[in-house]
């Protein structure tokens, strides 16, 4: 008697908690889609969820009821030895099969709908690196990293390319994920309903700093997006010599930064992210650290120390050098 | 109580159970039969190598080669490995492996677009 009741309480508590869970602030949730692709997926999931919930209730409460109803009591006779019941067993083979068919039909429809290529999309090429994202806008000649911008209300087609190991590109509130495989090119498209910032993350284990390979998507009004493109295309000016930023600019070449990073008009390195407008981003290092001078200092002091496995080595910079480099980076807006 | 239909899967109508002296498999083919099989194998191999040098009709040649390969495989399995004469159980074990392998790898390869190339 005691035991079934406890299961009952646990179940009620569990369902209650599940309900609470969906409400809280969760910027990476899959349950509150902000675009048509995400919504299609979510409605399919919700549909399946309720069918599954019905089966859940049937089985869980069924077991609890059966255990309670047929528990051992001394006055009960020995049970009849029933070996089976063909009709019953056929029923509970057929009914689940039928339920699954009901789920299968919209699943197939959605699979094929999502496989269609969208009309007139903004095209972005995504390259997965250990452990950051590179974005290329072939139609605009813009290259940036970790933070991707696109206009809201318009389809975006991401072309996914891998160069090292397998990553997976995911913006949960807009669409499902798609693996980024070396040696293969795949496409995924999505659309945001209205302007907003959406978080995402690499979801295929890709090595030491897999946890630190995050991303951020900015859906903007068309005007904001155009302004952003224009700013990204601008060639950053060189800081005047004599200032900390000017010294930092000199260090950028001396310390070898330019070998790995591109700054438009200065260097063409491609190992690390394009830094032409790095300070226009809100975060850096695989969207791991907020873009603040303090964080940049910490980063330049020892990159692999704060982000394990980072390809950027510890350059052994002095405090002054770091100050100057940070000052220079701050000019790259 | 027992479902005989299923058990037949593992029953062996021949082999040791009906043979008075199971050590001697008298029902296996004699040497002459083995040699005949070997001659057929020889002929098929010759034919395989022969059509290799025919050019054109790629599709037809490949299917023909596949057929001949299966024929050789089957002959060796049925006669030299005695699958034709031995218990069904052995055949089932082996054929299960072959069918699983062929099916699973064909599906994998076609999902990797090997056959579209």
């Amino acid at each position: 008697m005691r035991n079934p009741r406890r299961i009952w309480y646990a179940l009620v508590a569990g369902i209650g908690l599940l309900a609470v869970a969906c409400a809280k602030h969760a910027p990476q949730t899959t349950l509150k889609p902000e675009g048509p692709v995400g919504r299609k997926i979510d409605s399919l999931f919700t549909f399946t969820f309720w069918i599954a919930a019905a089966v859940f209730v049937l089985v869980e409460f069924g077991v609890v009821y059966l255990v309670w109803r047929y528990r051992h009591r001394d006055d009960r006779p020995e049970p009849a030895q029933v070996h089976g019941n063909t009709r019953l067993e056929m029923t509970w083979t057929a009914v689940p099969a039928l339920l699954l068919l009901i789920v299968a039909v919209p699943t197939f429809r959605t699979i094929f709908e999502l496989a269609k290529t969208p009309k007139d999309p903004i095209r972005v090429t995504v390259t997965g690196h250990q452990f950051w994202w590179e974005y290329n806008y072939p139609d605009y000649g813009v290259t940036t990293a970790n933070e991707v911008h696109f206009p809201a209300g318009r389809n975006v087609e991401f072309t996914l390319k891998g160069v090292d190991v397998i990553h997976s590109f995911w913006i949960p509130r807009l669409s499902g994920k798609h693996d980024v495989e070396p040696g293969r090119v795949s496409r995924i498209s999505m659309k945001a309903d209205k302007p907003g910032v959406f978080l995402g993350q690499c979801v295929e284990f890709c090595g030491l700093s897999h946890a630190n390979m995050r991303l951020r998507a900015f859906a903007q009004t068309p005007a904001d997006f155009d302004a952003w493109v224009a700013a990204q295309k601008a060639v950053p000016g060189q800081p005047p010599t004599g200032t900390p930023a000017g010294d930092g600019f000199a260090l950028f070449s001396v310390k070898g930064c330019s070998g790995c990073h591109t700054v438009a008009g200065v260097s063409t390195g491609t190992v690390g992210p394009n830094l032409s407008h790095v300070y226009s981003r809100t975060a850096f290092a695989g969207d791991t650290f907020d873009m603040t001078p303090d964080n940049l200092r910490m980063w330049l002091h020892d990159p692999p120390g704060v982000k394990p496995g980072s390809k950027m080595p510890n350059l052994g910079l002095s405090s002054t050098e770091i100050t100057n480099l940070v000052a220079y980076l701050q000019t790259l807006k | 109580m027992s479902s005989t239909t299923h058990d037949e899967a593992f029953s062996s109508p021949d082999a040791a159970m009906e043979s008075p002296e199971p050590g001697v498999e008298e029902h296996y083919p004699d040497e002459w039969q083995y040699i005949k099989v070997a001659l057929i194998l020889f002929a098929i191999t010759m034919a395989e190598v022969g059509i290799y040098y025919i050019s054109g009709a790629e599709r037809a040649i490949i299917s023909l080669m596949a057929v001949m390969m299966i024929a050789k495989f089957t002959l060796v399995a049925l006669y030299f490995m005695h699958l034709r004469f031995d218990s069904k159980l052995f055949r089932r074990l082996f054929v299960t492996g072959i069918i699983l392998a062929v099916a699973v790898y064909l599906i994998a390869l076609s999902s990797l677009h090997v056959f579209q190339r």
Binding site: L18, T48, W170, S209, P308 | S2, S3, M17, L100
Partner: protein
């Protein structure tokens, strides 16, 4: 015990590398044993030790993730820990626990004296334990595997993982794979060929059936992962290009090979537990398993369909829409036979007289928790939804509900149920129930929140996460839950330790239904004094009860303990069990063995401790039972394998050659050594023992193959 060996003068066996161990006792006896029960216990104990290790790894993971930006361990250590946790729990815990149970129970359940190949059985165990130790030796070198249990190439390639971490994983799994393959062949042959007279396939206990099916899955799945590991090994050691994308390789090859193995593997892990539950539920509900044939065929169906669903692990990799739909459909429909099992278990409970003992609770826990895992599994088949779920904690929740809520709960049900069989003593039911409720609550606290975390977008395999994503609270709850699980395991260990002072039990403490309970607890080396003759499914139950006119059981009079439908009168008419020896518990797990246990049984119990007094005593009664002799070779063959692996890994070729020589020489020694030594001197004078009275092969009732 070395003295024991030295003192014995064998009749000069021809050209032998080592003198054969003959009836060694004590520790040495365990190293050379070929007795399936001892091997089963070794398997189980070793796997339980690995369970503790894997559990500690799990606790470290949970400590690290208990809050945002965890810094209990470094990223590198974390990756090693989660890789080893997965690898351990799958290859070194659930698989060998199932193998251990099967080893111990299958021969007893089908009425055999041992498995078909006793030395191969020992080899399987030694290879498993040595492979496991080899894997764990990586920690000593600070290079534990770090590529995840799935080891996706090209991340596991030398270019991205230059240290030896992955080498340990590649070789360790290949070694452990040998154990699984030999074990599978052995059990398959045992079940096909070693059944007692009358034990037709459709009379086999359902645990035997599920084991049988799982072994077939192993038989065909192990080679696939072996090839994948082999190719990765060639890439890493010899610079081959199987997964080298620069050379044009396809990174999806690994995933296909891995999951062609990996999905059947899931059923390898769950089917034996399903079998256990199907044994436990009938005993404690006091009803036969509802729909036995359907349970058997649904098991076969699951195994068969399990080969056609692997690509659902790859829905995010860019399969075409047609392939996605096909694999979605096959994945959905594998839920049908699984659902049938769940409903049949429920139907077994309905109308029963349920004794709420610890084994039953674990079995019921299996049914309820596995259902949750099954339902979340169906949502993975919804391909678009799966692209949101895959590689998140939702998946982690799903497979823990299947493998912990399923396999581990099932295995604990089995442990509590068969404990008196192994130990001759009961576990405390109170502690068992405490363990169950702690585990049930802790389990749901740990893994339930994972559903929410996953749907809120928390990826798997991350060593830290930032605050502010709505993940902090549920991660904390989960970490607390993990420690409750640890507590429950501690209760189990305490229960084991306490049980050593517990009372002895009779042969049949649970009023059970199957053959293994007709032997003393623990059984003597030869299992059955006389070969049982089986006349029905649930043989033991039919020996104790008949179905009354209303279908309710009526206990037989002791004199009438005979096969229900007596076979041919020409049958060796002596009953398999003398009434006095059949001790039936009160059905509540407590022993009713106070009424005069016959001395032979007491002696048999002693036998387990060491000297086989019972053996001798028994031989007086029934003539000599000639059991396979112990052997060093299985251990020696296994010892060579990791030496080969170390040699190859560290490119010290002579070490590899030494290892290979050890293994090859031991294989030769093995091949030249007969499975059973010729009669020992003490028996030489005795006339050749008569074979056990066996039914004539042409009697249809007893024809195991069914006619």
């Amino acid at each position: 015990m070395a003295a024991t060996i030295a003192a014995f003068e064998p009749p000069a066996p021809p050209r032998r590398l080592f003198r054969r161990p003959v009836h060694p006792t004590g520790l040495w006896g365990w190293f050379t044993t070929v007795d399936h029960k001892r091997i089963g216990l070794l398997y189980t104990a070793t796997a339980f030790a690995f369970f503790i290790l894997g559990g500690i790894e799990a606790l470290i993971i949970r400590l690290q993730l208990g809050g945002p930006n965890g810094h209990v361990v470094s990223a590198d250590t974390y990756n090693q820990i989660f890789t080893m946790h997965g690898t351990t729990m799958i290859f070194l815990v659930v698989m060998p626990l199932s193998a251990g149970l099967a080893n111990y129970l299958v021969p007893l359940m089908i009425g055999a004296r041992d498995v078909a190949f006793p030395r191969l059985n020992a080899l399987g165990y030694w290879v498993f334990v040595i492979g496991g130790l080899f894997l764990y030796s990586s920690f000593l070198f600070g290079h534990a595997p770090n590529g995840g249990w799935f080891g996706y190439a090209p991340n596991t390639e030398k270019a991205f993982n230059p240290a030896h971490n992955i080498d340990y994983w590649v070789f360790g799994l290949q070694i452990v794979g040998i154990a699984s393959l030999t074990g599978a062949i052995n059990l398959i042959v045992t079940i096909i060929n070693m059944r007692a007279p009358g034990m037709s396939l459709m009379r086999m206990p359902i645990f035997v059936w599920m084991t049988f099916i799982a072994q077939f899955l192993l038989l065909f799945a192990i080679p696939v992962i072996t090839v994948a590991l082999f190719e990765l090994m060639f890439d890493r050691l010899f610079g081959a290009n199987f997964f080298n994308v620069q050379a044009g390789a396809d990174p999806l090859l690994w995933q296909h090979l891995f999951w062609i193995f990996g999905h059947p593997e899931v059923y390898i892990l769950i089917l034996p537990a399903m079998g256990i539950v199907s044994e436990v539920l009938p005993v404690f509900t006091r009803r036969p398993l509802f729909g036995y044939p359907v349970m058997v065929f649904s098991g076969i169906a699951i195994a068969f369909m399990g080969w056609g669903v692997w690509a659902h692990h790859m829905f995010a990799t860019g399969l075409g829409p047609v392939a996605k739909s096909a694999f979605a459909l096959s994945t959905m429909f594998i839920a049908v036979p699984t659902g049938v099992k769940i409903f049949n278990w429920m139907a077994t409970m309905a109308g029963g007289k349920i004794r709420l003992k610890a084994p039953f609770l674990f079995a019921a826990g299996f049914v309820t928790m596995f259902t949750i895992g099954g339902l979340s599994g169906v949502t993975h088949a919804i391909v678009p939804a799966d692209t949101q779920q895959t590689d998140t904690y939702y998946i982690v929740a799903h497979f823990h509900y299947v493998l912990f809520g399923g396999s581990i709960f099932g295995l604990f049900a089995g442990a509590h149920y068969w404990w008196p069989k192994w130990a001759g003593r009961m576990l405390s039911d109170t502690l068992g129930k405490l363990q169950f409720w702690l585990m049930f609550i802790g389990f749901n606290m740990t893994f339930g929140p994972f559903h929410i975390l996953g749907l809120q977008g928390m990826p798997r395999r991350i060593y830290r996460y930032p605050s502010g994503r709505g993940w902090d609270f549920w991660n904390l709850i989960s970490t607390i839950g993990a420690f409750i699980i640890a507590l429950s395991v501690l209760v189990f260990i305490i229960n084991i330790l306490k049980s050593r002072r517990g009372p002895l039990v009779g042969e049949d403490p649970w009023d059970a239904r199957t053959l293994e309970w007709t032997t003393p607890n623990p059984p003597p080396e030869y299992n059955f004094a006389e070969m049982p003759i089986v006349t029905s499914r649930d043989e033991l139950w039919h020996r104790k009860y008949i179905e009354g006119p209303d279908g309710r059981p009526v206990r037989r009079e002791p004199e009438r303990i005979e096969p229900v439908e007596p076979a041919e009168p020409a049958e060796p008419a002596e009953p398999r069990l003398e009434p006095a020896r059949l001790e039936v518990g009160d059905g509540n797990g407590s022993s009713a063995s106070t009424n005069l246990p016959p001395p032979a049984e007491e002696v048999a119990r002693e036998e387990h401790e060491g000297e086989s007094v019972a053996d001798a005593a028994h031989e007086d009664e029934h003539g000599h039972i000639h059991m396979p002799s112990p052997s060093y070779y299985p251990l020696l063959v296994a010892v060579g394998l990791p030496i080969i692996a170390y040699g190859l890994m560290y490119k010290t070729w002579f070490v590899a050659v030494i290892g290979a020589l050890i293994t090859v020489a031991s294989v030769y020694g093995w091949a030249l050594e007969p499975a059973t030594e010729p009669e020992e001197p003490i028996d030489m004078s005795a006339p050749e023992p008569e074979p056990e009275p066996e039914p004539e092969p042409d009697q249809p009732e007893l024809e195991p193959a069914g006619s």
